[in-house]
């Protein structure tokens, strides 16, 4: 499945602008083949995200002021927000994984928000990116769970509060739901962003009909606002789910 070449050209018969061509990965400096090291628009927008994060968290806090400037207080707010989330959800032992959670949150937040810049490229709308992020969390949590709790980590699947007869069934369900986690974790993020951007593009495509174009402008503005909300909420949700999964590994078998 899905072996489409991005370079394939076809007859344009439907939309004047195709809702999916905003997700195409193109090499920045010529050429058509995308090798693993090729500098593409993915590279560009991830680099911009890194620059934004550096600007906010490194340049913004360079004065180390007791009374913070506006940028510094935003950086401190994000820091406090994620720190409290990690501490509340995973408990005291989870705080040492805070930098990792912060990295995920900042990357997803800035990738989502930068994706809303017109004509930009949304890196987090790609399943490859979110699957990598989710698998990192999944493998990290699983390995960490076995390191911290040994074989006792498996007792997470054996619900000791349930009657003995239904425990095997519950164990099967728990195992399945455990392995579905990275799937839903990644598809949620990519799907939300892909859907939002595609919807904006589809609606914008209707603007070629002069009659409805004023409505289209309003609708695109409204959905753009919704997408801003979605961008922040999805970053938050990805992060908090990371914390929830981390709790299983850090907090032991009880969940």
């Amino acid at each position: 499945m899905g072996a489409n070449r991005v370079t394939t050209e076809g007859e344009s018969s439907g939309f004047a602008i195709h809702p999916m061509d905003q997700f195409v990965i193109k090499p920045l400096f010529g050429g058509t083949e995308v090798y693993w090291y090729t500098v593409t628009n993915v590279t560009l927008w991830m680099a911009i995200a890194v620059l934004c994060i550096a600007g906010l968290l490194v340049l913004g806090t360079r004065r180390r002021a007791i009374i913070p400037s506006r940028t510094q207080s935003v950086a401190e707010m994000i820091y406090g927000f994620i720190y409290n989330m990690v501490e509340e959800v995973t408990g005291h032992d989870g705080v040492k994984y805070f930098p990792y959670v912060m990295t995920l949150f900042l990357f997803i937040l800035f990738a989502n928000l930068l994706g809303l810049v017109p004509t930009s490229f949304t890196t987090t709308s790609h399943v490859a990116v979110t699957v990598t992020l989710a698998l990192m969390v999944f493998l990290g949590v699983t390995i960490l769970g076995f390191i911290r709790n040994g074989i006792g980590f498996l007792s997470m699947f054996w619900v000791s509060s349930a009657p003995l007869a239904v425990r095997p069934i519950l164990a099967v369900i728990e195992v399945i739901s455990y392995f579905v986690r990275p799937v839903s974790h990644s598809i949620r993020l990519a799907g939300n962003l892909m859907a939002g951007h595609a919807v904006i593009k589809v609606i914008a495509g209707f603007a070629s009909l002069a009659v409805v174009s004023p409505v289209v402008v309003g609708a695109v503005a409204a959905i753009y606002g919704l997408e801003l909300l979605v961008a922040v909420v999805q970053a938050y949700v990805f992060t908090i789910l990371t914390c929830v999964y981390l709790r299983d590994a850090v907090g032991g078998a009880h969940h």
């Binding site: 499945m1 899905g2 489409n4 999916m20 989330m85 509340e88 959800v89 839903s184 598809i187 949620r188 799907g191 939300n192 892909m194 859907a195 909420v233 938050y236 949700v237 908090i240 789910l241 929830v244």
Partner: protein, 78 residues
């Protein structure tokens, strides 16, 4: 001819798959509504449950996103 029927089936299937989004909408609305009614009964406890609210919404929404994904797969990938 054969291809056209397959094409038609794909579009019909994609359209049917989007019905799943309605289920996600019901689920998300249910969670948000219940959260609100609980929060109005006991507003002081509400801020502490924001995380649970978002996790619940995320779980409910993920299933809707799956059906959307299936629609996309039918449209573009199968």
């Amino acid at each position: 001819m054969e291809g056209d029927i397959a094409e038609m089936g794909k579009f019909i299937g994609a359209g049917l798959a989007t019905i799943g989004l309605g289920g996600a909408g019901i689920g998300v609305g249910h969670i948000a509504g219940n959260f609100l009614s609980g929060a109005l009964r006991n507003p002081s406890a509400a801020p502490g449950q924001m995380a649970n609210l978002f996790v619940g919404i995320a779980f409910a929404e993920a299933l809707g996103i799956f059906s959307f994904l299936i629609a996309l797969l039918l449209m573009f990938a199968v």
